[in-house]
Symmetry: C2
Subunit: 424 residues, 2 copies
């Protein structure tokens, strides 16, 4: 990992007993760090403290001594736990007072809701006297900004969507202009290549010798089981140069990972498949056993999927396979429910009953029970019906876990459909 090329240092401070005690994961800090990183602003460190006025005040004082700016989240609400404004006043050595702009905003906010404003609501407008208010367009608790000991502080609510809105509307640009004093801000670009079918360790191995060959481009990996994203990103003064460095790096990644890549736009497998079906004006039916509806649920997560998706028969029992899909009892008897033969009849049956152009079937053993020596947990047969013909394939994945198997079976089936649609 390379560091952002920036001189200004920003601290991220999270407050709240629920974060300190581990009841809530501090995803605010990661989100803020990500946005600062993209803006070319270096993060100094994250600190998390509980709802303790004295402790928070000392963390604020310390940040003021170490960093050029700080983003503090949480503790701005109406309850007794919300002590951030008090801690900020204590750290700055100033008084608290009702802030006229924030008070007027709160009164108006509650008037529009048809509610009268209570004293505890108005407590949210009591801010350090040297603070300027940052209005919260999507909630009640206003934020504020002030300078303590030469360090610019931004105090924001802990509610993620309120904090994010205020970061995007106000804080990022304020920090960028702070950072721009004395330097030209860098552009940031990223490109994500998504792949399926190769374990993380193998991806690592294949990409190992790219380090040193991709210049200023940063190479990262993000596993979102069973998919892996290779993330290329970089900063630069010139946008064309930056884009062409990223493209050179991407073509090296393509060389190494070739046929495992399925998306370079951040699209999921179901989005890629949906786009291909839409382009061909084709329709899809599914026949799912062990995935239990997961594939059709993913297909229908995509808005507009009703244009190409007709139906799925989730046939968990053998009777359902026979009745809904017309699988022959003799096939189940001779080869078993988890077999290429059954998968093929399921796919053909789904196509026949729905008149869909394409059909995909899945039958396998997700576990934890049901495995045998010949067909261990992780075995799956995938059938495909297409205008060009039908086929079935067997795979064996190394997972013991039911959820992991459902996820990887669904991804493999969608990937089979994708390869069929692009004729590979």
């Amino acid at each position: 990992l390379q560091k952002a090329q920036a001189e200004m240092k920003v601290q991220i401070i999270s407050t709240g007993d629920e974060v300190l005690s581990g009841a809530v994961v501090d995803s605010n800090a990661a989100w803020i760090a990500g946005r600062l990183y993209e803006a070319g602003i270096a993060v100094d460190c994250h600190v998390c403290v509980g709802d303790d006025r004295g402790h928070l005040a000392s963390v604020i004082c310390q940040a003021a001594g170490q960093a050029d700016a700080a983003v503090v989240t949480g503790g701005l609400g109406p309850t007794v736990d919300d002590i951030t404004a008090q801690a900020a006043a204590l750290a700055a050595g100033v008084n608290l007072k009702p802030h006229p702009e924030a008070t007027a905003y709160l009164k108006d906010f509650f008037r529009r809701l048809g509610r009268s404003v209570s004293d505890s609501d108005l407590k949210q407008a009591v801010l350090p006297e040297t603070a300027s208010v940052i209005l919260n367009p999507v909630g009640t608790a206003p934020g504020f900004t002030m300078i303590i000991d030469g360090c610019r502080f931004f105090f924001l609510p802990g509610v993620p969507f309120e904090m994010r809105k205020m970061m995007q509307d106000h804080v990022i640009s304020a920090l960028k202009s702070l950072a721009a004093h004395g330097r030209t801000p860098d552009f940031y670009r990223e490109k994500r290549l998504s792949l399926f079918g190769l374990p993380e360790a193998k991806v690592n191995e294949r990409l190992a010798d790219l380090t040193g060959r991709i210049g200023n481009v940063k190479l990262g990996m993000l596993a979102e089981f069973p998919v892996i994203h290779v993330k290329l990103s970089g900063f630069g003064k010139n946008l064309n140069d930056l884009d062409s460095s990223l493209e050179s790096a991407a073509s090296l990644v393509r060389e190494k990972l070739g046929r495992f890549l399925f998306s370079e736009t951040g699209q999921s497998m179901e989005e890629v498949v949906g786009r291909l079906l839409k382009k061909q004006g084709a329709t899809l039916a599914l026949a799912e056993s062990c995935t239990g509806g997961l594939i059709s649920s993913r297909i229908t997560n995509v808005a507009g999927s009703s244009d190409y998706f007709l139906c799925s028969a989730v046939t968990y029992s053998n009777e359902a396979k026979i009745r809904m899909l017309g699988v022959l009892p003799e096939t189940l008897e001779a080869f078993g429910a988890v077999s290429e033969q059954t998968a093929l009849e399921m796919a053909r049956g789904a196509a026949q009953m729905s008149k869909a152009d394409y059909a995909v079937s899945v039958t396998g053993i997700a576990g934890p029970g049901g495995g045998t020596a010949q067909k261990p947990v992780g075995t799956v047969c995938i059938g495909v019906f297409s205008p060009k013909g039908s086929y079935a394939r067997r795979y064996c994945f190394p997972f013991e876990n039911r959820m992991a198997n459902k996820l990887v079976f669904a991804e493999a089936a969608l990937n089979r459909l994708r390869k069929t649609l692009i004729n590979k």
Copy 2:
């Protein structure tokens, strides 16, 4: 929120550019905090710094001055980024040297893998000279513990399952015995009540006046859309007293939230429904339109669901509703696909074709498109077929988002089934 009743203060320090830059959320810190909290040990703060030797050393020195103990994760691996041992040595003012026990362990580890050990592997055994090794039973990087400035430090790998194993095997008990000097350690107990059908603000309102009536019991809320968990927890010297305080608090929560509660064991709605079906020896079929297979996917997430789940017809198109479920074209024509009448015929059709004892159907408008003034996005009709009769109900949820609607429709359908199974 109440604080853990403990005198010892522990800091949690995470290292790594990937966490600092927000590429990875710091879930290690939350996990460690949760385990410490359960063990009755107070967390002072979390700090996260990048892979910078000097900066990490200064954070270590500072923790030594503020806390009684600290858990540091990350930076123990074989690469140049792994600088934690160096930072610890720098902070303690001691030299680094190859640790004999760790070296022997690494050599043995690689021998068992049939690989020779490289210099970069052996770098992981180079530790501050005053450190004692904490063996890593599930990976290569050993951890270590040492006292710096009177503060007990535990250095662990950043890989979550390695860190967790070493915390559980070693660190928690070491911290407990540190904390036990001068006091009896407390017991910890928690109870989780899960509910569906009431927005978070309303839950908050109903529980507001419980504060002050539940003694030492801590009341927390955890939203896992569309489900809300009310978490009751507490510390105590006497296990019976603690359990009875939790039970008194739980009965107050039951009074306030009554019919919205569906689980007091942490079980999900699909687990509760599965248990009820199994108990009655009954079978289930589904007919899903707008949920697109999500309900059957959730039902089949439960191991052993093949005992009661037969099949689901995911009928996205009207043709599929007619062909797979026998919905009458006249019904679709007269009332529309999203109607109580269609839902009822879908549920009856699913029961008929599968011979299931119970059947549930869902047809609605998940959005973003497809809403009308009469049937806006968020409208859903749920049909239920049961041995005691059939019925359908219409709901209108206030969400615009497709995923939110799929989730809430699925939960509502499972909840309808649950209420039917318990005759309510």
